[in-house]
């Protein structure tokens, strides 16, 4: 069937859509939630009859879902490795386009109780630092930064995701953590981001692609264009992303 033709016995809308009413399903990394929702609304405005539905989640989880046959039209991941996996699994149509990049930032509670101002401060004894676990993308980025800076951080916790790092800092449980600039930007005024020069050694690139099983490949392509177009990039920049 078509991508939107999943059986939905509980009565959600379904079935192949006529051209007037179409649904576009976008799988995107969780960190893209805010800008993508904005871009989606704009897209709906310029494409009457089109509904954009998002499924946000961890990038590797999304790819796993797609491998299992989850119906979607567009995929945007938080790093190139996961997109490479999608390509290897023959899920993607054409070549993915990098559309944004992201760097790490030190995040501290707004009142910065441990008076952190540089990466080196994180090594002070008694400072509670949380990082992502090396197994997840933000963790490997953190490791790269550590290596470049020549510091050896001993975190009190190696979290499963950026959200978890942010959560610990936000609640004041941890004194500092390493997360992406965009995460700090989206987290409101409870936390403060501190730039540090070594961040440049681990730049993360976000690729986007139309999927092979897309119900309406041309519409999907149009969405990809909307994201990579000027307006899209502006929205992304507002959220803290830099150009690829």
């Amino acid at each position: 069937g078509t991508s939107s033709g999943t059986p939905e016995p509980l009565g959600t809308e379904g079935g192949s859509q006529p051209t007037e009413a179409r649904t576009l399903t976008v799988f995107a990394a969780a960190s893209l939630q805010k800008p993508f929702e904005q871009i989606g609304r704009a897209f709906e405005g310029s494409h009457p009859g089109v509904t954009v539905k998002f499924s946000f989640g961890g990038s590797s989880g999304l790819v796993a879902q797609l491998s299992e046959g989850a119906p979607a039209d567009v995929l945007a991941t938080a790093n190139e490795q996961t997109m490479a996996k999608a390509v290897a699994d023959d899920l993607v149509k054409g070549t993915p386009t990098p559309f944004a990049s992201n760097t790490l930032q030190i995040v501290v509670p707004a009142d910065n109780p441990a008076r952190i101002s540089s990466l080196a401060d994180l090594t002070r004894s008694g400072t509670k630092v949380v990082l992502c676990a090396p197994a997840v993308p933000c963790g490997s980025a953190s490791a790269a930064v550590e290596k470049a800076a020549g510091v050896d951080l001993t975190p009190v916790s190696e979290e499963q995701s950026v959200t978890d790092v942010l959560g610990k800092v936000r609640s004041g449980e941890a004194d500092a953590g390493l997360v992406y600039v965009t995460d700090v930007a989206g987290a409101g005024d409870e936390v403060t981001g501190i730039d540090f020069p070594e961040a440049a050694s681990a730049v993360n690139t976000y690729p986007i692609a139309t999927l092979r099983d897309a119900a309406d490949a041309s519409l999907a392509d149009e969405f990809v264009e909307a994201v990579t177009g000027t307006q899209g990039l502006e929205t992304l920049a507002d959220a803290g992303f830099t150009a690829p």
């Binding site: 999943t6 539905k53 499924s55 989640g57 879902q65």
Partner: protein
């Protein structure tokens, strides 16, 4: 008019337990910004998620009852190795992390799963549909119903079932008119546990059903997503979930109490 006493000292750990559970809940309630509460919980995404959660949890609980009551009865009355194996099997969804449960479900019912081609031929694709949400919830919640009902059935024993049989009632009548009414408190506890577990289900759902607004994004998934940006919204939504659960369960209880007022 009965006068059974609860040992006085038991009230100490009971109070401690209440405090232990109550304190975080109070803290949570205190942290909510009540002025923005309304707007937080009434966004389209939130109401979609709440409705989906209620619908799927209700259907899943029903499924749990349909499949779980028979399983519990068989377990409570069976003995021997087969029963032990069966009991262990039922325990599995309880023990594995929900995310792994979701993987297992994909491997069974997904497109590339064991039944995938069979289901495909039938034109059924369950993964990533609302059906998948129900399947995930049923999978993780059924053990709760089965085990707590089994406990109650064993406690109730078979005295009255024997009487029923000598009065000419076949197994079905006995089951319907004796077994179930006598195990009602346990059945209700079990249903509540299952319903609550369905309402709170996250890991298996996100893995097996994905997170698509209106279709598979239940309230816990929505909460998880909200938490990414604004934990306060997540907490507010959780309070809605709690309110709904307490309401639904309270209504069931009230009805039960009026029905079973005369049980021993």
């Amino acid at each position: 008019m009965t006068t059974t006493l609860v040992p006085r000292w038991l009230l100490v750990p009971a109070a401690l337990g209440t405090l232990f559970v109550g304190l975080p809940i109070v803290a949570m309630a205190l942290s909510v910004d009540w002025s923005s509460f309304g707007s937080l919980v009434t966004t389209e995404a939130s109401t979609d998620a709440l409705l989906l959660s209620l619908r799927t949890a209700a259907v899943s609980t029903l499924l749990c009852l349909i499949l779980g009551i028979p399983l519990a009865v068989v377990l409570a009355r069976a003995t021997g190795t087969a029963a032990t194996l069966l009991r262990s099997l039922v325990l599995v969804p309880l023990v594995i992390p929900p995310v792994v449960g979701g993987i297992a479900l994909l491997q069974a019912f997904g497109r590339r799963g064991l039944l995938g081609s069979t289901l495909d031929v039938l034109g059924l694709q369950v993964a990533f549909s609302t059906t998948a949400v129900v399947i995930a919830q049923t999978f993780v919640a059924m053990p709760f119903l089965v085990l707590s009902l089994e406990g109650a059935l064993r406690t109730a024993g078979t005295r009255y079932e024997d009487v029923s049989a000598t009065l000419g009632a076949g197994p079905t009548t006995t089951f319907r008119r004796v077994t179930i009414p006598l195990a009602l408190p346990g059945l209700i506890s079990g249903s509540i546990l299952a319903f609550a577990r369905c309402l709170g289900e996250f890991g298996a759902t996100i893995t097996f059903a994905g997170s698509l607004q209106g279709t598979t994004r239940t309230l816990p998934l929505e909460i998880y997503l909200q938490r990414e940006g604004d934990p306060r919204a997540a907490v507010a939504l959780s309070l809605v979930l709690v309110a709904v659960a307490v309401l639904v369960i309270g209504l069931t209880r009230a009805r039960r109490d009026s029905l079973a007022g005369g049980a021993p």
